[in-house]
Amino acid sequence: MMVAIAEIAERTEGNDNVLKIRNLSTHYFSRRGVLKAVDRVSMDLKKQEFVGIVGESGCGKSTLAFSIMRLIQPPGKIVEGEILFNGKDLLKLKDEEMRKVRGKEIGMVFQDPMTSLDPLEKIGDQIVETIQMHEDIGKNEALEKAMKLLESVGLPGDRVNYYPHQLSGGQRQRVMIALAIALNPTLLIADEPTTALDVIVQEKIMEILQNMKEEGRSIILITHDFSLAAEKSDRIVIMYAGWIVEMGDSSKLVKEPMHPYTEGLLESVPDIWLQKKIKTMPGFPPDLINPPSGCKFHPRCPHAMEVCKREEPPLIGVNERLVKCWLYK
């Protein structure tokens, strides 16, 4: 059954959508030309939903996250679109207002915790500072809150007296999560939070993220690890070359991938419990300054047709799934 996008949008409309991204484009301007890192992307996020955005390096997934936070630095620029967060368009806010949204309403966890932690300050003080920037409470009260926060991410409260270098990578990432949720934001964006960490630590961090979800927050997990996203998130968004090429319910998407890229990715990832040979995906990720014509995936696609070379495929709704591919027209 085929449904128009508008209809799908209609269906989800009125649902408690925390975040609505419409037609968002973020470009980078370089000597060589314009790089369309995020190219007319639309997606929604419901309250208390855990969404995994999956893609390879350079597909635009991190740029999307930074765009939501409005942390894009020149030569990058958000060139069009809307980011509606609880009804207000973040792109229309003044810088001052946006600063209040960051941390207080949307928290973000980065890949490398060491770059966001001040090495010369005790982690307790850093959390206290963040809290006091937005809330008018005393130092002792804030410190008590900081200890509670650390406990909520599985660290002993006395770690407030530690400096970042005294902690392991996993512990630092926990501190980062504590910092991100210090002001109790309703949306938490985690950009490759466990890429530098070992699997056991990764599992613990994911548990924390899931607890955050149980507490009522919405989570966006950005990762290159398809199986991790499949395992942890309710819904998966697959990005390729700045486009969202497929999105839908995690378990269904993994069981029945529709987009040829999703299918190829699934077949090329080794899995510990599934006995299978892995298939090589042909070709290379495209140069985004001179992307292929029509569908940006067509040079690597086993099902490519004439129309794919000429025209950009529309985002097509099939049941509860959205897929950007001519095969389903």
Binding site: V199, F226, P270, M281
Partner: protein, 327 residues
């Protein structure tokens, strides 16, 4: 036939000390990166060496190819103890023993043409004349899928993507037709959609050359895919070693089981085996079994006596090995 045998291999790194520490304490401290490990690899076999960062797996690989001098122990390769060879004799062994590094961006000389990277090993070992070497290099570039090979031959590394560079690194290792290759996390820095191609390429060489390999990785899924056997390392020790299916489906060491339950998968299995805290400091590993502070099953014996790696084909270093089966 065993092609490689490692006996009681040990690598201690002296800890860099601050000036004050040197003044007030005379005792030298060591990081016990690799602490008396034993394993062997059969001809035509891939042994996957798995462990978390800092467990010593990379140091093992570096010792095999002579980039690190072992503190103690033997590396017996083709019936010769590599640790007793020096200079010219040791270097000649590199013809049969090669390595592929993790970082394809740092492992190629930025000022040297791709072709020269492949010709150099042939010229070093006097295997081919200049013209022959060039021909072999071009054939090898074609073999690893860098076509048109003549064009790639003349390029510089910066003109290649990460995936292409890793193919060059593989080609450089394979051009000597080695009998043993150490592959140190060869796909962990490669884009997800290109990993399968690199892994399949490595496996195709295994078939073609009857190559033996030590495949070092932190990713159990990859270890399972390429390996015939798996060895699991923890804090400088091998804690479990055995056939791929034995280790994955019948893990005996609680650490292996904990790793298995943490690996992300499209069909997750929950082994319900917990792990506590963080990895200990390799400067002062815990007494007894090194894993005991994190082990949910630890008893008194575990805190006092270090377990040996025992067993027939499936060996484990644990006083109370698990008896479970995961399907």
């Amino acid at each position: 036939m065993e092609i490689l045998k490692v006996e009681n291999l040990k690598k201690y790194f002296p800890v860099q000390k601050s000036f004050i520490e040197v003044l007030f304490s005379k005792e030298l401290e060591f990081i016990r990166a690799v602490d008396r490990i034993n394993f062997s690899v059969e001809e035509g076999e891939i042994l996957s060496l798995v462990g978390e960062s800092g467990c010593g797996k990379t140091t093992v690989g570096r010792m095999l190819v002579g980039l690190e001098e072992p503190t103690d122990g033997k590396i017996i390769f083709k019936n010769k103890d590599l640790t007793s060879l020096r200079g010219e004799e040791r270097r000649a062994m590199h013809r049969y023993l090669q390595i592929i590094f993790q970082d394809p961006y740092a492992s190629l000389n930025p000022k040297m043409k791709i072709g020269d990277h492949l010709m150099d090993p042939l010229l070093i070992h006097g295997i081919a004349s200049n013209n022959e070497a060039k021909k072999m290099a071009i054939e090898m570039l074609e073999r690893v899928g860098l076509v048109p090979a003549e064009q790639f031959f003349n390029r510089l590394p910066y003109q290649l993507s990460g995936g292409q560079r890793q193919r060059v690194a593989i080609a450089r290792a394979m051009v000597l037709k080695p009998e043993f290759v150490v592959a140190d996390e060869p796909v962990s820095m490669i884009d997800v959609s290109l990993r399968a191609a690199i892994l399949n390429l490595l496996l195709s060489f295994k078939e073609e050359y009857r190559l033996s390999m030590l495949f070092i990785t932190h990713d159990l899924s990859v270890a399972r895919l390429v390996g015939d056997r798996i060895a699991v390392m923890y804090l400088g020790k091998i804690v479990e070693i055995g056939g791929v299916d034995e280790v994955i489906h019948e893990p005996k060491h609680p650490y292996t089981a904990a790793l298995l339950s943490a690996v992300p998968s499209f069909e997750k299995r929950d082994l319900r085996i917990d792990i506590k805290g963080d990895v200990a400091n390799p400067r002062s590993p815990p007494p007894g079994c090194r894993y005991h502070p994190r082990c949910p099953f630890a008893r008194r014996e575990c805190r006092e006596i270090e377990p040996d790696l025992v067993g027939d084909t499936h060996k484990v270093a644990c006083h109370y090995p698990l008896e479970i089966r995961v399907d």
